[in-house]
Symmetry: C2
Subunit: 354 residues, 2 copies
Amino acid sequence: MSSSTASNTTNGRHLFKEYPTGFPTPGQSTVYDTSASIDLDHVPLNGGVLTKLKVLSIDPYLRELMNPNLGTSPDFVPFALNEPIQGHGIVEVLRSENDKFKSGDFLHADVIPHEEYPLFSKEATETLSIVEKRPELPLSVYVGAARMPGWTAFAGWKEYAKAKTGETVFVSSGAGAVGSIVVQLAKHQGLKVISSAGSEDKVQFLKDLGVDVAFNYKTSDTREVLKKEGPVDIYWDHVGGDTLDAALENMNQYGRIVLCGMITGYNTESGDVPTQKLYTAVWRQLSLHGLLIVPALIEKYQSSFEEEVVAKLADGTFKYREDKRYGLEEASQAMLDVQKGSNVGKCVVVVDGE
Amino acid sequence: MSSSTASNTTNGRHLFKEYPTGFPTPGQSTVYDTSASIDLDHVPLNGGVLTKLKVLSIDPYLRELMNPNLGTSPDFVPFALNEPIQGHGIVEVLRSENDKFKSGDFLHADVIPHEEYPLFSKEATETLSIVEKRPELPLSVYVGAARMPGWTAFAGWKEYAKAKTGETVFVSSGAGAVGSIVVQLAKHQGLKVISSAGSEDKVQFLKDLGVDVAFNYKTSDTREVLKKEGPVDIYWDHVGGDTLDAALENMNQYGRIVLCGMITGYNTESGDVPTQKLYTAVWRQLSLHGLLIVPALIEKYQSSFEEEVVAKLADGTFKYREDKRYGLEEASQAMLDVQKGSNVGKCVVVVDGE
């Protein structure tokens, strides 16, 4: 008994403790907890894989999974109270009873519990895949531009934007993990790109990405900018609400709108996102498409993604920017920062390593 | 001078007099006016066609064209003050300087001034086409189920609904001119059809059309009905607002929504139509499509429309219901009734004849 206790290692966890009604409060909505421990050498694997958490991706959608009233997708399940937050990340194999994975491998996990030593059951190992890392790119990019946010941007752009050279696109939150890839795909395809962000620093980043009209929505009126620079053929929405209305008022005939999250509603009690101008969709024959990155979309675009996005990130054609935090205890604050938009670049929590 | 005056005929007109802020008021927003006259025998045609108005179509969208703030489509222009209302209808040729049309021909006009003797200029005659009337159908059906509302239903259904046998569709205003064709197309294709209307009489009509779940939205709660009978794969929307929200809350994954007018907003000052639940579109990967019947869509589906809709109307497979008014002086009241939904069946104004 005493010998097994002696070999136990603290397994720090990032737990969901309380449904937030507004912004998630570090230490209250979610808590870093050190009460659990794990015997790394002896814990039974039952055909599964024991891992060490390396990098976590901190994305806006995590807040939406704290909404108990969310109409869920079969691919996304709201968080359970007193259980670890779940999100995507990269782990390193410590011990494995699965032939495909060996100690030292880096693995992607799209649904990974926020704990230092995740143990994947035999069934759960089917969701794991080896990180095919290019030497030019750090591991953290494989939870960002080279993985889920990148996939979301690329698959949504290919599937729904139906972009033509010479058209005009407006991207809200263009400096974000998804938005920054969207604006680069659009520039690469010869579109006029209008994009907004919430700080001068982010606006400068948009300019560095080649955005034609970059503006700070806190100091410039979105309606005025779109009226002057539009009409807009494609609107890539991350926020909903009044920004969506401003876009709806300035859309061109047959415009396409990609609804890629609505952060405006995430931090309210009801989750509602009031929109007033949807009637313009009728008169201008607009299409709106809800975008969630799901396995079917990933499969459809995965091979071209490697060539059209990851290769361009590796050779420097496409840029990325990261906001790295160190240690799982920083995950709560990182989640709040992402909701408030005070992160600068793709937010990742490096739990172990670089 | 006196001889030409003697041959003048009163040309009754239905004029747009004032922007309504709520429902259009007969005698105030629009006025039947008899101050104009026309010399039918001598008015110069300059290559055009002089006609006599036979039948007018009275549709919900006419109210939207009284909104001066409407973001217009190049295919639809808001009405000008002190000019006749314009809408679609059928005219009979009195005199013609166009070889394609001769006296006695019945012609379709999609944009026709509401006056008893419309004179089409040489350019405007290009928008006219001869009514290819089947003997089984009255002329009035050629402004209803066999024409624009029928086209709208058919083209929208083919282009955007992407219906599959066994799916569930919800159609609001299912007893209306467009809705009644949509529900019959859906039944014909083997879908489960849920549809709402605003009176017991209309609900009975829906049942006569074969609707599986017909309900009166004034006495039944739309959310409850959809929760019990859904989830909904396709929602055909005519109203927007809270009905759209109720549908959004009950949509299935990958659901399609056809936005075919938003009457909720037509009779308000701003024209805004508040929607709260659009965020569900993200999590359920919904698509929404604004539908306006435009030349490109008509051209794409016109030949199959004859076979799949008009032939079925003629042989009795598809049903239609008309609310006929007689005389151009009834157009104002007819327009108000359509906005309030107090018409029963497709509303037409028969200006001359059957």
